[in-house]
């Protein structure tokens, strides 16, 4: 979510001082990305929408605990990794819950009433369909890391920050994922 914004720290400080209106700035800036991250994990527009909402509300409730000066040492737009972590954890909880109750949702089976025509569905062509299917077949952590790297175009450090894994572990998951993806998609770029 690298997108340098020197004003962001001031906005966070205002929200920490109780200025709820200032929070809209952060919501507007990060909402599309947060919905995309949630969708990448839960693969359902309805759940992604709910998760994004929940993540922003929780972030607001806990913004007093957000250590702004510490976060600023790593990046000038510190809210991005934080809200990304919150939504990712919520989305992974949903996955665990689904697994627990053996509730498997079919791709594209989300309630139509909650979908907007302007939403761009992830898979729009044959190459995309094949890549998407290959990523989905990967084991969970490889799938998560591969999706964040390939689809969300995040770098290793960013993924490590978001997932709580070390950079080495991210590289390792990605390396395994790459090997499997190359095996499955070798004919794609001949």
């Amino acid at each position: 979510m690298a997108n340098d914004d020197p004003l962001e720290a001031r906005v966070i400080a205002r929200v920490q001082d109780g200025d709820a209106e200032a929070y809209d700035t952060l919501v507007s800036k990060y909402l599309p990305r947060v919905v995309a991250i949630a969708w990448g994990v839960v693969r359902n527009a309805h759940d992604a929408e709910d998760l994004a909402q929940e993540a922003f509300v929780r972030a607001y409730q806990n913004i007093g605990r957000f250590r702004l000066s510490e976060a600023l040492e790593r990046t000038s737009d510190p809210f991005g990794p934080w809200i990304g972590r919150i939504v990712l954890n919520l989305a992974l909880d949903v996955l665990k819950h689904r697994r627990k109750f053996r509730h498997e949702e079919l791709a594209g089976a989300e309630p139509a009433a909650r979908r907007d025509d302007a939403d761009v569905m992830a898979v729009s062509n044959d190459i995309g369909t094949r890549i998407d299917a290959a990523i989905e077949e990967l084991p969970e952590m490889q799938r998560l890391v591969a999706r964040l790297h390939l689809v969300e175009e995040m770098e290793h450090a960013e993924i490590a920050d978001l997932t709580g894994l070390s950079e080495g572990t991210v590289r390792s998951h990605l390396s395994h994922a790459r090997a499997k993806l190359k095996e499955k998609l070798a004919d794609l770029y001949d």
Partner: protein, 107 residues
């Protein structure tokens, strides 16, 4: 750039198109719901930096006090138990049965 690297560069380029992009109406709806929950929600009236309530203030005073009293009571109870055991040990009588007769011997 190796063949492997080229493969993944192209893969990354195509995979980027898989990103889910919520439409403007969806984003506006989520934004409104977030705003409503923050502004009017029962548990979200203020961020956690807000002043604590009177109940929270009293609890923060009484919690350590109660913990201290509980520790003193526990120490006293343990002390009493040890003392009681010591005195009971001295008063015990030993019963010896020999040839059909029973003898009681003091400590």
């Amino acid at each position: 750039m190796t063949d492997d690297e080229k493969f993944f560069e192209r893969l990354r380029g195509d995979a980027a198109s898989l990103r889910y992009r919520a439409g403007d109406a969806t984003l506006a709806r989520i934004r409104t719901r977030i705003h409503d929950r923050i502004a009017f929600g029962p548990t979200t009236a203020m961020p956690t930096t807000a002043m604590p309530s009177i109940a929270e203030l009293l609890a923060s005073w009484f919690r350590p006090l109660a913990a201290g009293l509980a520790a003193i009571a526990l120490a006293a109870a343990i002390g009493l138990t040890i003392n009681t055991n010591d005195s009971a040990f001295g008063e015990e009588k030993v019963e010896i049965v020999m040839g059909g007769d029973t003898y009681l011997v003091d400590d």
